[in-house]
């Protein structure tokens, strides 16, 4: 039985811009032989109910991701910098528009 594809189709990550003018958002992935088919398949798989007005597809192999083991080194420094949030500075009630 020829269950094996002659060549495994590459994996594409799919990003959709919703109707509301927001940034493209990752919605999932799919296999396709080329970019054109990836867009066609993304249309069928991810926008059957008006979910979007624009589609990006990117080969999954081309995405560079941070590694879970680097989580501490990358994100912990932000934890100690609470002064980056406006709520760090309590304002006197009399002061308006700040």
């Amino acid at each position: 039985m020829s269950t094996q594809l002659s060549k495994e189709w590459p994996l594409w990550e799919v990003f959709i811009r919703s109707q509301h003018g927001l940034a493209h958002k990752h919605v999932g992935s799919l296999h396709a032989p080329d970019a054109e088919m990836a867009v066609n398949n993304a249309r069928d798989v991810y926008t059957r109910r008006n979910e979007g007005v624009s589609i990006w597809v990117v080969r999954a192999a081309d995405i560079v991701a941070s590694s879970p083991s680097d989580k501490g080194a990358l994100f912990e420094p932000a934890n100690s910098k609470v002064y980056r949030h406006p709520t760090f500075f309590p304002m006197p009630e009399e002061v308006k528009n700040l």
Partner: protein, 329 residues
């Protein structure tokens, strides 16, 4: 349940004493409600069990298209035909979301499909029953997709991120399926006596197989206890089945149809329906491959795959040609 009796490969539930540091940290994350993502460390048994569970679920979505495909050309109106086509297309989409989720665990699409086509992988027992009349399209949407929703809504909160996210998408679309099914049943139940009889016949044939979808009682099952500890199973089979009966019986009453169970009665003290014994011999027999349609379903699936080979090859040839032209330029 679309994934019935998923093996964990373990003979006892893992205790803290059994675990090395990384596994203990992993279990602590799950207990704290933190999602596990594809690149995070996970025990091999968790990974393998999830691949089994998600792929069984994906296969069920794909094979689930076949009993309904039987009625596309014979739907009573153009509107019903369009709706049925849209539902079947959704099932293909659900299969794809789930295959993608399974692939994040390090298995390829080809391996998953090969397991389905060779008969090695399981899919839900429910799809091995025949669709004999148009009313079956109503009963499937109402009862089968209805049961699937009851099973899948908790999985939107399961511990594995890609699976949980796929389930969110599936559940959003699934309620269309259940409603269009009930809508078909409503039309038939309000139609001629012959049409109402068709609806009753469909309910008679689909009721018990739908209850079996949740799988046998797993109160004593090590696999289920381990899956519960991993939060990839959030309620027992019996709890989910009870929920299905409780919400479906009043819907049947509204249709003026009779649930085919002489032992069915409402217990005012518990607030639940009590129902008769399920024929688990039939269930085990269908799982073993001896249901009315097992061989036909698998053959149809394999034929579709093999007859589509030339098209997939053409797509690859086209992609290769354009890639080569680009390289030259």
């Amino acid at each position: 349940m679309y994934a019935q009796q998923v093996e964990t490969g373990l003979s006892t539930v893992r205790t803290t004493a059994d675990m090395a540091d990384d596994e203990r940290a992993f279990q602590a994350r799950i207990d704290a409600g933190v999602r596990i993502e594809a690149k995070d460390w996970m025990p091999e048994a968790y990974r393998k069990t999830l691949i089994r569970q998600i792929s069984q679920h994906a296969h069920s979505e794909i094979v689930g298209q076949l009993p309904e495909g039987n009625w596309v050309t014979r739907a009573p109106t153009l509107k019903r035909k369009s709706i049925l086509l849209a539902k079947i297309q959704d099932e293909a989409g659900h299969g794809l979301y789930l295959y993608s989720a399974a692939e994040t665990l390090g298995v390829t699409r080809d391996e998953l499909l090969a397991a389905l086509h060779s008969g090695k992988a399981k899919y839900s027992s429910i799809f091995n029953y025949p669709t004999l009349s148009w009313a079956d399209m109503g009963a499937i949407g109402w009862l089968v997709d209805g049961s699937a929703i009851i099973n899948q809504i908790p999985l939107c909160r399961c511990s594995y991120g890609p699976y949980a996210r796929a389930m969110v998408r599936v559940c959003k679309e699934e309620s269309f399926h259940a409603r269009q099914g009930y809508d078909i049943m409503l039309s038939l139940a309000r139609g001629t006596p012959e049409q109402k009889a068709m609806a009753q016949d469909a309910l008679n044939r689909w009721w018990w197989p739908s209850l079996m979808m949740f799988g046998p009682s797993d109160a004593e099952s090590v696999n289920s206890a381990q899956s519960a500890q991993w939060r990839i199973k959030l309620f027992s089979n019996d709890e989910l089945r009870q929920r299905m009966v409780d919400q479906t019986v009043p819907q049947a009453e509204f249709l003026g149809l009779t649930v085919p169970d002489p032992d069915l009665r409402f217990n005012a003290a518990t607030g639940h329906y009590e129902f008769g014994a399920i024929d688990w011999t039939e269930f085990q027999n269908v799982l073993k491959g001896n249901g009315p349609c097992n061989r036909e379903r698998l053959r149809t699936r394999v034929d579709a795959w093999e007859e589509g080979a030339w098209f997939r090859e053409a797509l690859v040839a086209h992609a290769d040609k354009h890639a080569a032209v680009k390289e030259v330029a």
